[in-house]
């Protein structure tokens, strides 16, 4: 065993050597019991590190955190010298906003069941993504774009609903009602806070989900 070969063992173990270097190390290992032993030890170290488990703090730290994040406290004083320089958090979400977020999750569950039951298929030839430059420039432009796509898909679904199973139509309509409620809530909230990025993204995502649902539904008809 010599230092040159020993120093390569971690890289060998981690797969960081070139093919030529790896072959050279393997040739050396074939003849050097000491290096083989060292390699086994290094592997044991890595295995021990991987098997370490996480332990919670000995005492509950929540109270210390809670007193720094309480929304009622103006001018939050955070922990430590660096943290003390941070600006206080400013959020103002309302119940409708939270409700809208929750509804989307419910819709995802509902439409997920529907899609799982009915499989996937190709949707009608409706462009459902606004040009990327539009989305970057103006969220309202994206909204109009999605509105147009939704109208087109709804018309396609209306024309073909006679070919769908009534139970399927019921599921689709239930989900669309929930999505529409989420869209309405998001738009209502945006009227009060039009620049809220979370709400704008939330509205856009909800509209995308409606489009996706409509696409899947029309593809089944």
């Amino acid at each position: 065993m010599n230092q040159h070969w020993t120093d390569r063992l971690s890289e060998y173990m981690d797969g960081d050597l070139s093919f030529t270097e790896r072959v050279a190390v393997e040739r050396h290992l074939a003849d050097c019991a000491a290096c083989r032993e060292t390699l086994a030890d290094l592997r044991a170290v890595v295995a021990a590190a991987a098997s370490l488990s996480d332990a919670p703090p000995a005492s509950d730290l929540w109270q210390g955190i809670a007193q720094h994040i309480a929304p009622a406290q103006p001018g939050v004083v955070a922990i430590g010298a660096r943290a003390a320089q941070r600006a206080p958090r400013q959020f103002s979400f309302t119940l409708p906003q939270l409700l809208a977020a929750s509804i989307v999750l419910a819709v995802l569950s509902g439409s997920g069941v529907f899609l799982a039951l009915n499989g996937s298929g190709r949707g009608p030839a409706v462009a459902t993504q606004p040009p990327s430059n539009v989305r970057q420039v103006d969220t309202r432009a994206s909204e109009s774009y999605y509105d147009a796509a939704i109208r087109e898909l709804e018309a396609a679904l209306e024309q073909s609903r006679g070919r769908l199973d009534p139970a399927t139509v019921e599921v689709i309509e239930d989900n669309i009602r929930i999505i529409d409620r989420a869209i309405l809530d998001a738009r209502t909230a945006l009227e009060r806070d039009p620049s809220n990025q979370f709400l704008n993204e939330h509205l856009e995502n909800t509209m995308k989900r409606k489009i996706e649902l409509l696409k899947r539904a029309t593809s089944r008809s």
Binding site: T6, D7, L9, S10, E11, D16, T38, D41, L42, A44, V45, V46, A48, A49, A50, S51, L52, S53, D54, A55, P56, P57, S59, L61, W62, G64, I65, A66, H68, I69, A70, P71, V76, A78, I79, G80, A81, R82, A83, R86, R89, F91, S92, F93, L95, Q97, L98, L99, A101, S102, I103, L105, A106, L108, S109, I178, Q197, F198
Partner: protein, 183 residues
């Protein structure tokens, strides 16, 4: 549907994401649930990176920072992944200050030699965790990030502002030192 029913649905899908959304709206109870689910990982990471004596303070700092930055959590990755990366940033950001506070930055070579004693406890895992604390700071951080947290040398090099080669050599030295502990 009522809000409670919807929240139950949401929670069933992804409790972290649901609580993160609620916490972003100012719900401290939801944030406490996130804290309860993730505190062990954050605390262990803090303890291994900068020592047990700073782990409580760092853990609190990480969660306060997470609260402040929740609006930036987009849900593209799991909340735990997002929080973990935030924790790494907080810890690395505090290491210089902590090192100055304890008036040392233990990167001296003798630290490798001091760690030659065999485990004194039957609990090898506990001892292994304790043994980490005797490594020089730089080697310990690299070992934790690579062998425990799974970061690549290139990522570690970027985080610590060192070369990938330095990361590799420090990792090897840390492993060689710790190997004596397990023999």
């Amino acid at each position: 549907m009522t809000l409670s029913v919807l929240t139950e649905l949401e929670t069933a899908v992804d409790p972290d994401r649901a609580d993160a959304a609620l916490a972003a709206g100012g719900d401290t109870a939801a944030f406490e649930r996130l804290y309860r689910r993730h505190t062990a990982r954050v605390h262990s990471l803090s303890r291994r990176m900068l020592g047990a004596e700073h782990a409580d303070e760092l853990t609190q700092d990480v969660f306060v920072r997470a609260w402040q930055k929740l609006a930036l959590f987009r849900g593209e990755a799991a909340f735990g992944t997002w929080l973990h990366r935030l924790a790494i940033n907080v810890i690395l950001g505090r290491r210089g200050e902590i090192a100055r506070r304890r008036e040392r930055f233990s990167d001296d070579e003798s630290a490798f030699d001091r760690l030659s004693a065999r485990p004194t406890s039957a609990d090898v895992k506990l001892d292994f965790d304790a043994a980490l604390q005797h490594l020089p700071d730089g080697a310990r951080e690299i070992f934790v990030l690579h062998d425990i947290e799974g970061y690549k040398h290139e990522e570690i090099a970027q985080m610590l502002n060192i070369s990938a080669g330095t990361s590799k050599s420090q990792l090897h030295r840390a492993r060689m030192t710790l190997r004596q502990h397990l023999r």
